[in-house]
């Protein structure tokens, strides 16, 4: 301990203190401050560039997602349009069918009506014909009766047998 204290040089201590103070001051002013500032700037720059790249990537992803969405929407729209068209088609067909059926029904009814009326007219004609015929027969019968009784009867019978009532 004594030897160490003997070795300790106060003069060197003072000189060293002055020199170290000077060195710290000069280094801080001319070296460390600019170096640390530029390092910080550079690191911030790098960080900024990285952030920008990250943002760009995110934006790109968003854009892609948007595109995907648009595509999806377009596809959906197309599908709905197709579906609508298909529905329209079936509806149109059904409508046409229905109309046709109604038309056909109407035509058939009209035809039936016509047939009925023709039939009625025919029947009426037939009836009047039959009435005329029967009147003729009756006339003839009456005339035959008037000439020959037996012959009259025979004639009526033969006439009746000949007459076909249809």
């Amino acid at each position: 301990m004594d030897k160490l204290l003997n070795d300790f040089s106060p003069g060197l201590f003072v000189v060293q203190t002055i020199l170290l103070l000077l060195l710290i001051f000069l280094m801080v002013k001319f070296a460390w401050k600019p170096i640390l500032n530029s390092l910080n700037e550079r690191e911030e720059g790098i960080q900024g560039a990285l952030d920008a790249a990250e943002n760009a990537k995110k934006e790109m992803e968003n854009l892609q997602a948007d595109n995907q969405k648009l595509l999806q929407e377009a596809r959906l729209e197309r599908e709905t349009m197709l579906k609508e068209a298909r529905e329209l088609k079936t509806k149109m067909i059904a409508d046409a069918e229905e109309e046709a059926q109604a038309q056909a029904g109407k035509i058939i009814a009209q035809a039936q009506e016509a047939i009925e009326s023709e039939k009625k007219a025919a029947m009426a004609e037939l009836k009047s014909h039959v009435a005329g015929l029967s009147l003729d027969i009756a006339e003839k019968v009456v005339r035959g009766e008037l000439s020959n009784k037996d012959k009259q009867i025979q004639l009526v019978e033969s006439m009746l047998g000949e007459a076909t009532l249809n």
């Binding site: 040089s9 003069g11 201590f13 060195l23 390092l39």
Partner: protein, 392 residues
């Protein structure tokens, strides 16, 4: 490229070892002032560990038996009882035991073991007592440009040159070129591994300048101690004491309210114990921390120098038992590997000094804005930070 660099390092180290051995071997010839016995080696090493007033590279004895010294003298600046005195160290003629007396302005000076003594008036020669202390002379305040001061100046200029050039490079380009590319990662290392984690993101910028200066100052000086120029700047108590006191001043000045609170009136302990703790904490902050900082650096570097030089001295001390070739080979191998370890120690000591400085500063500026957790009895549960603080 890496292989090239490593081989370059290897060659540099080998050259360093060879150079240092060659320089010290110069004084191994027979004659006056040479180093060959164990006692002389010990004296030589102790002399080297101390600061010196001249910058001697090597010395030898020529054929006429004359001692030749290679190196250059340095100015001696003294503050004596009668004011400032300056002269060149060459006036002592490399004498270190007080026999050469330099007379200036009526005052007489002698150099004994690298210390300059002023002779009391009337005395013409230094007389020693039986413990080899000078009886009629006293030490003077010595502001000389000693070898250590030269080292400090050299390192300061070197650092200033390197780093101001690096700083200038950033004006034009983002990434430095040349040697700046080596320095930049070191700066980032100190900032990100030492300053930021220990001081905290909020305050570290204020102290990074000091930490960087101290780190590179110590590291380069430690490495310079391994060169054959024989600097031992970080092995000078005055230098390490100055560094430690700078750290002490910085963490004392920048300590916040919490720091003083925790030191003087520790919360969360019984009132009776608080004064005792305050004494311990005060001693820790003002004596133990700086003392351990200064002694660690000083002792590591001095021990390194002593070990390397002792191993180099093997070639003289074991010359008789192992033959010249054996002793030289053994000394070369051992000193080579120890030098490698010393390169690591040079970095480690700079790192530890900076690290501990950052840690102490970080403890002084740490903010305790969080409320301490309390258990159900109202006692504080110490968090990790407090435990750490109490520990160191």
């Amino acid at each position: 490229m890496k292989i090239f660099q490593q081989s370059f390092k290897f060659i540099t180290l080998a050259v360093l070892v060879f150079l240092s051995t060659s320089i010290y071997a110069k004084s191994s010839n027979e004659g006056e002032g040479q180093v060959s016995t164990k006692k002389e080696v010990e004296e030589y090493i102790l002399h080297h560990i101390q600061d010196s007033h001249d910058f001697s590279l090597f010395s030898y004895t020529n054929d006429e038996g004359e001692r030749k010294h290679f190196g250059f003298p340095l100015p001696v600046i003294l503050w004596t009882s009668e004011g400032l005195v300056t002269f060149m160290s060459s006036e002592f003629h490399h004498n270190d035991d007080g026999h050469v007396i330099v007379e200036k302005d009526g005052q007489k000076f002698a150099k004994i073991h690298s210390k300059i003594y002023e002779l009391e008036s009337g005395a013409s020669e230094v007389s020693f007592d039986e413990d080899h202390h000078a009886k009629n002379a006293h030490k003077v305040l010595d502001f000389s440009i000693t070898k250590s001061v030269v080292g400090v100046l050299f390192v300061g200029l070197l650092m200033f040159f390197w780093f101001s050039r690096l700083a200038k490079q950033y004006k034009n380009k983002q990434i430095p070129t040349g040697f700046g590319r080596v320095l930049e990662p070191l700066v980032i290392y100190v900032r990100d591994e030492i300053a930021r984690p220990n001081i905290g993101d909020k305050h570290y910028r204020k102290f990074t300048g000091y930490l960087l200066t101290v780190f590179f100052f110590i590291w380069i000086l430690n490495l310079m101690g391994l060169t054959p120029f024989g600097f031992n700047v970080t092995g000078q108590l005055a230098v390490t004491a100055c560094l430690a006191i700078f750290t002490l001043v910085i963490y004392t000045v920048s300590g916040n309210k919490d720091y003083w609170m925790h030191m003087l009136w520790m919360p969360g302990v019984p009132v009776l114990i608080r004064p005792v703790l305050a004494i311990i904490e005060l001693a820790g902050a003002f004596l133990i921390k700086p003392f351990s900082l200064l002694v660690r650096l000083f002792a590591n570097i001095s021990a390194g120098h002593i070990v390397v030089m002792s191993l180099i001295a093997i070639m003289f001390t074991l010359k008789d038992t192992l033959t010249v070739a054996g002793a030289t080979g053994l000394s070369l191998v051992l000193s080579f590997f120890i030098t490698l370890i010393e390169v690591l120690v040079a970095f480690l000591q700079a790192y530890i000094f900076t690290m501990l400085s950052a840690l102490f500063i970080g403890m002084a500026v740490a903010e305790h804005d969080h409320e301490h957790e309390h258990d159900e009895n109202g006692h504080e549960i110490p968090d990790a930070e407090d435990v750490r603080e109490n520990f160191i």
